[in-house]
């Protein structure tokens, strides 16, 4: 069950046994280095990683280097929840700048409050990426615990987790999310941190079942293996068996679904913001910007169409990158899928 010549001390990879892999499996290199090499052999995935890296750096550091919303450097904040705009203040040159087209000073133009759209897009990226990353972390956390418990103990635990999984999968996720946000933030007055937290929690609640199912099936298949029996024979406690012997074997699927979950979470958040149930404005997210921009699609002069174009394009790029990376990771962890 591991690579053809297993190296000592490396956990066995589920499904990594494929005699026909043309990679350097016979050399004495570690499993994870092998995975890394296979990942690097996918040029698309590398490009996606680089693009993503550039975007993340741009979103978190970019607003520092640019003139603020109004070209005022004092209004810039690195805090992830910064709207980039102090409430109650107005841009000095705003009246001349409403919905201006891109120029040398405001590269992407300005929005309907005279704020710089490039800065707002980057600030929105902070929130959107943050929502994606935290929703992913929470999802993987819940899914790993419940999936491992269901797979290891079986019986009543398994039945209960499966019932919960099926119940959540039985209603379309965006429906659940709308009702969830509606119930706990019905006035839309929640502060930015509470609003982001609510959206993150909602996304995690609807997306853990997918990952939990995968983890459960991996644990189920590994549970009866000899090395688990050996661990049990030497008296290893059950929590230790789960954490040290079973979950590492599910690492591949966990990493893959982590990557895919971030992309899906960003997409869900923006759809939710678009419908008006996401993080409430003025906190910028890509979904919010897109929603605001949609009202100005037809403005004949000025920023018009591009107001809505950029945030959507950024969402598409980021989600595409995460999907490519997830796909490459799947191939890297499970070489059998390469044969196809």
């Amino acid at each position: 069950m591991s690579v053809t010549t297993p190296t000592i001390g490396q956990p066995a990879a589920p499904g990594a046994a494929a005699p026909t892999i043309d990679f350097e499996t016979t050399k004495e290199i570690g499993y994870y280095r092998l995975v890394w090499r296979r990942f690097c052999s996918r040029r698309v995935a590398l490009v996606a990683t680089i693009i993503l890296g550039v975007l993340v750096v741009a979103c978190y550091l970019g607003p520092l280097l640019l003139p603020g919303d109004c070209g005022d450097l004092s209004q810039i904040s690195l805090a992830p929840f910064s709207t980039g705009h102090t409430p109650g203040t107005f841009c000095v040159d705003a009246p001349n700048n409403f919905l201006a087209a891109g120029n040398h000073f405001h590269l992407l133009g300005t929005d309907d409050n005279g704020r710089d759209l490039l800065v707002r897009n980057l600030n929105g990226g902070r929130i959107s990426l943050l929502v994606g990353a935290s929703a992913m972390t929470l999802t993987i956390f819940i899914a790993t615990i419940l999936g491992a418990l269901a797979g290891f103990f079986g019986g009543l635990v398994d039945t209960m987790v499966s019932a919960l999984t099926n119940a959540i999968l039985s209603i379309p996720s965006i429906l659940v999310l709308i009702i969830f946000v509606k119930t706990f933030n019905s006035t839309g007055n929640a502060g930015p941190i509470a609003a982001v937290g609510l959206v993150v929690l909602g996304i995690a609640i609807i997306s853990w079942p997918y990952t939990a199912r995968i983890i459960r099936s991996v644990i189920l298949s590994v549970r009866e293996k000899e090395f688990v029996e050996a661990a049990r024979a030497v008296g290893t406690s059950r929590p230790r068996i789960i954490v040290r012997h079973l979950i590492p074997n599910a690492l591949g699927p966990i990493v893959v679904s982590a990557s895919l979950t971030i992309g899906a979470a960003i997409l869900t958040e923006s759809a939710l913001s678009f419908l008006g149930y996401g993080v409430n404005p003025p906190t910028p997210t890509w979904g919010n910007l897109l929603n605001e921009g949609r009202d100005h699609l037809n403005d004949p002069n000025g920023v018009g169409f591009f107001y809505a174009l950029w945030p959507g394009f950024l969402i598409l790029t980021v989600v595409l990158c995460f999907n490519y990376i997830g796909d490459a990771l799947r191939d890297a962890f499970d070489p059998r899928s390469l044969e196809r």
Binding site: A167, I171, L175, I179, L275, L290, N298, F305, P311, L316
Partner: protein, 335 residues
């Protein structure tokens, strides 16, 4: 088999009950109740307040309300009873606060528009995705295959409301501004004639289809590749069958098996796509009704839609699983 079906139906009923109950609790948690304004009048006597609460059915404990709701919903199961037997009356999902009428009527009126949109886009999806998937599997790693794969990745990652807005701008608003007239209408579902309906369907169907073609083509490709590597395909080729016949008769038919499950699982995702798409194109269907009701705190409608939908999903999954055993006798749910 019968035992399995009954077990699944019972589990499904439990799921549906759980979903509606959670929605009921959520309704109670809502800070601004739809009838709150009526109760805030000055000089309102307690009797009037009680009457208003009774009218909205909230004068009783939560569980009593819930059981009353279940009794009304299950109406078609028992209203035919009696002599002479009558036609069962439709389920009573309560009164909508905003539609000024029964929820059931509101939903069934909108269901038609949703059906038109979903069925059209589904047919378009299958017509394009199935040949694409087969071709890219047969010609693996060819230019066509790589193009389809790249397209599929973009399609899966595309924010569909954004895509819809861009389409509206480019194909409806921009030509209109330049006095060409709208190439395609941007909203609504037409004046009722079939020609106008088809005209209005174009843009939303493109948005829905691009997304699902991406997923389906990839799925069919993977499933075809799996089958094409099987021994019986080699046997079929070895005995000298034409390539076309091998692909269509031997490979494609077998690759359809996992597809059955996908069909059953896809009902909810199809609806999700439709919620956002319906809002973008102001399509007067269930998805739009749901979003409108959510913004108006119209919980009876929300619960009604969620209830009907989860019933469909449970039944869809069950039918898919049963159809799977029928199509592939190697699978059995009996232990």
């Amino acid at each position: 088999m019968a035992k399995y079906i009954i077990k699944r139906l019972l589990l499904g009923a439990l799921t549906v009950l759980a979903i509606t109950f959670v929605m009921f609790v959520f309704q109670q948690l809502l800070p601004d109740k739809p009838y709150a304004l009526l109760l805030n009048r000055p000089n309102q006597s307690q009797a009037v307040k009680d009457a208003i609460r009774a009218k909205f059915g909230v004068d009783e404990p939560l569980f009593v309300q819930y059981f009353k709701y279940l009794k009304n919903v299950s109406q078609p199961l028992w209203t035919w009873w009696g002599w002479p037997p009558q036609l069962p009356s439709p389920p009573d999902l309560g009164e909508s606060n905003f539609l000024h009428g029964p929820v059931w009527e509101g939903i069934t009126q909108r269901a038609k528009a949703t059906g038109q949109l979903m069925i059209t886009s589904y047919v378009v999806t299958l017509l394009i995705a199935v040949p694409l998937g087969i071709l890219s599997a047969v010609k693996q790693y060819s230019k066509l295959d790589n193009t389809v794969t790249a397209f599929a990745f973009v399609g899966i990652s595309l924010p569909n409301y954004w895509f819809g807005s861009v389409l509206i701008y480019l194909l409806a608003d921009l030509p209109f501004q330049h006095n060409i007239g709208k190439i395609f209408p941007a909203s609504g579902n037409g004046d009722g004639s079939i020609k106008d309906l088809a005209w209005h369907l174009v843009l939303p169907v493109i948005v829905l289809a691009v997304q699902s073609i991406a997923g389906y083509a990839r799925y069919i490709r993977a499933s075809m590749l799996e089958v094409l590597s099987q021994d019986y395909i080699r046997t079929a080729r070895a005995k000298g069958l034409a390539n076309r016949r091998v692909v269509i008769r031997h490979a494609f038919r077998n690759s359809l098996l996992p597809f059955i499950t996908l069909l059953g699982l896809d009902i909810p995702t199809l609806f999700v796509g439709a919620i956002v798409t319906e809002v973008v194109f102001s399509w007067p269907g269930m998805g739009k009704l749901f979003v409108d009701s959510a913004s108006g705190n119209d919980f009876p409608v929300l619960i009604g839609i969620a209830l009907l939908l989860s019933i469909f999903v449970v039944l869809g999954n069950l039918i898919a699983d049963v159809a799977y055993t029928w199509a592939d006798p190697r699978i059995s749910y009996e232990k």
